[in-house]
């Protein structure tokens, strides 16, 4: 098993249930040992090697190489947070390793503590220790899930596999919503991407239960540049959930994902993610959906941890009647900057959008809301409602709001509300006067603040989210 690895990404965004997939598994290990060479830094050679090790078709290899050129030609973003990344000091592909998977001893203490408390360490240990058996157990789960959705013609696999097995769909959609030219980090991901989820839902198919992916970075399945593509065909629906319960740790410093979602006429897609990164991670992610006639795209996005997160899930409403909804929460603590927000772009008449963005800053943490509401020429009858609330827990912390509103039509209805509140001394006193300790009271106020997000989560994630927040509030993390 590989260990001290890199960042191939495979599992960052790989369904938990996918881990045990036999073929993947063998390929992976073999390739890890035989083909991968450890090397830091980014070059044509490295990119070509990644493509080769994945046995990719020429078009994907060329896409990667072209993306690399774009990456090199683009300047760093001049806004957002301070990005201090030495791109030559990052591993972009697996290196061969001997021995065992990374042990929890290698995990930063604060992250380990978190997951210890969540009971994940134990679960994870069992999986590692139990090895084959655990994989077998998981495979059954994965198999049954796949069987059930496969019957309906649904494809749910990792993106690497999709390139090999569904080339026609990939060629049609991959990199079309977020082309490498879009931004420096999209270009970077396009060059070195690995792993992620691929979902295709055929016309008229409704998947009742969420498709879940479980992110974890460990020996044989570690990733920082995952690539997710979701296609919801006409009249179909899907809810995709990325879990926060997996230990997302890495010795590397950069996570840069690209997520593309296509929702066709009358379709519905909801993408839910809760992420809790180690405090040294740059989390620079591009997420964008296009929504066609009378369709609905929803992003539910929670961000905890990381050194700097820059993430603005977007919905482009392409045809009349399309709707976009974005609900995001960011929690920043010491040494962290969450530059998060949302973008809605109305390209067609009678489209509507709603953004609810909440941030919590504590112990010197910094949160920024950066949002765009854009109405293109010709997009009449547009309705958009933006609410952003910031909660600041102490005088050391900071919150900023950068709303961008660009409207090129007259007949539109745009609402923007922003509020910043300090955790009310009055609120604290009120709860404490009823016998709650100060810690319980602040925790309760914060839980209430994020309730609009939590109630949108599937039960198990809601529970995790609340526990994560409690841990953050205790100061036992980071």
């Amino acid at each position: 098993m590989a260990t001290d690895t890199i960042p191939t990404p495979a599992d960052l965004e790989r369904p938990v249930d996918d881990v045990p997939h036999e073929i993947n598994k063998y390929n992976f290990i073999t390739q890890t040992k035989d083909i991968f060479k450890a090397k830091k830094g980014l070059s044509r050679e490295v990119v070509a090697q990644i493509s080769e090790m994945k046995s990719e078709p020429a078009w994907m290899r060329d896409f990667r190489l072209r993306s690399l050129e774009i990456f090199e030609s683009k300047p760093m973003p001049k806004w957002g947070g301070d990005i201090a990344i030495d791109f030559e000091d990052v591993y972009y592909y697996l290196k061969p390793t001997e021995g065992q998977s990374k042990s929890w001893d290698d995990v930063p203490q604060e992250i380990k503590d978190t997951y210890d408390k969540l009971g994940i360490v134990e679960a994870e240990q069992k999986r590692l220790v139990a090895g084959v058996k655990a994989q077998f157990e998981s495979e059954v789960v994965y198999g049954s899930l796949q069987e059930e959705v496969a019957k309906m013609g649904v494809i749910f696999t990792d993106t690497d596999t999709a390139v090999r097995e569904h080339p026609e769909l990939l060629r049609e959609y991959f990199g079309k919503i977020i082309p490498p030219e879009d931004n420096k980090f999209a270009a970077l991901n396009s060059a070195v991407w690995s792993g992620g989820s691929f979902i295709y839902v055929p016309p008229g198919v409704h998947i009742e239960f969420p498709l879940q992916a479980y992110f974890r970075i460990n020996a044989e399945s570690m990733g920082q540049f995952e690539r997710t593509l979701i296609i919801v065909d006409e009249g179909a629906s899907v809810h995709y959930v990325e879990g926060c319960t997996a230990p997302m740790y890495t010795t590397e410093s950069l996570h840069s994902a690209v997520v593309e979602v296509i929702v066709k006429k009358n379709g519905r897609a909801r993408y839910t993610t809760i992420q809790n990164w180690a405090n040294n991670i740059y989390n620079l992610v591009t997420k964008r959906a296009v929504a066609y006639q009378d369709s609905l795209m929803e992003w539910v996005d929670g961000n905890l941890g990381s050194h700097l997160t820059m993430k603005y899930p977007a919905v482009y409403m392409m045809e009349p009647g399309a709707r976009g909804e974005i609900l995001s929460i960011a929690f920043s603590s010491t040494g962290q900057h969450q530059d998060a927000g949302a973008k809605v772009v109305h390209c067609a008449p009678n489209t509507s959008s709603r953004i609810v963005s909440k941030s919590i800053s504590k112990n010197g943490g910094r949160s920024s809301y950066r949002g765009l509401c854009k109405v293109e020429k010709g997009a009449t009858g547009v309705k958009s409602n933006v609410v952003c609330d910031a909660l600041i827990l102490d005088p050391q912390s900071r919150s900023d709001t950068y709303p961008y509103i660009e409207v090129e039509e007259q007949d539109v209805q745009i609402e923007h509300e922003a509020s910043v509140s300090r955790i009310g001394e009055e609120q604290l006193f009120y709860l404490m006067s009823r016998g709650l300790t100060e810690a319980e009271a602040s925790s309760m106020i914060v839980s209430g603040f994020i309730e609009p997000l939590v109630k949108e989560l599937p039960m198990e994630y809601a529970v995790e989210m609340n526990r994560l927040i409690e841990l953050q509030m205790e100061g036992s993390v980071g």
Partner: protein, 282 residues
Amino acid sequence: MSKTLRIKNLHVCVEGKPILNGVNLTINRGETHALMGPNGSGKSTLGNAIMGHPSYEVTDGTIELVEEDGTVANVLELDASERARAGLFMAFQRPMAIPGVKLADFMRHATSNVRNPERKEGEDLIPMREFRKELQEKMGHLRMDLDFARRYVNDGFSGGEMKRAEILQMAMLRPKFAILDETDSGLDVDAVKLASESIAEISADASHGGAMGVLIITHHDKLLERNTPDFTHVILGGRIVETGGVELAKELHNDGYDRIRAEYPEAAKLNSKMAEEEAVSV
């Protein structure tokens, strides 16, 4: 079991401005006290100071709980949470909204802490079934719809709903000493009647170690009709200038504070200055 709440020579400042200038007040359990006074006299300040609001700085004097055995606990050393668990309660005039927090969840936490003052964080709360049964019973008494418990604490509550929720909390927490800060304002006649009955009921409920001591802060005598005060105190310019019985409350309700102002001109002068400043800061 504390039997007496004893306040001596209490001086309190808010943002550096003196509001209370030497308040003396002793409340025994089982007694009902009315505290009346014109605007800006320091009524709410006294309540907040007793309850431990961090913005109310006690510059002199003492607040103590005297136990049955004569031992004395220094309330000023306790934060608001500890005071609640020691048996103090205040029904707020304008309770804070806590969006996203369901009244029932909050109250289960609060009730667990107050009934088990030694409870550590993370320890079990009162069993849900037991809590729910009691809450429903109390809500029934207050003619509150059960859905009410699922609403967010004071968020979008009408004035009357807020006051009822405060009374409900008092009923659940069973304090030893309760301060009711204008709980009657904003309530219609029926609601005042219910509130009065609840206060009387809780006060007389001996099942938790004897009757409650009550301090009713009010401008009116509505609440006092059914909760006849054993003592009525008039506060003016941050000091209790006169103490009487129920007849004093009636007099103030009927005739206002003119006689009091005339008899205590210095306090009256100070009071109008305080009221003015309060109006400006609001």
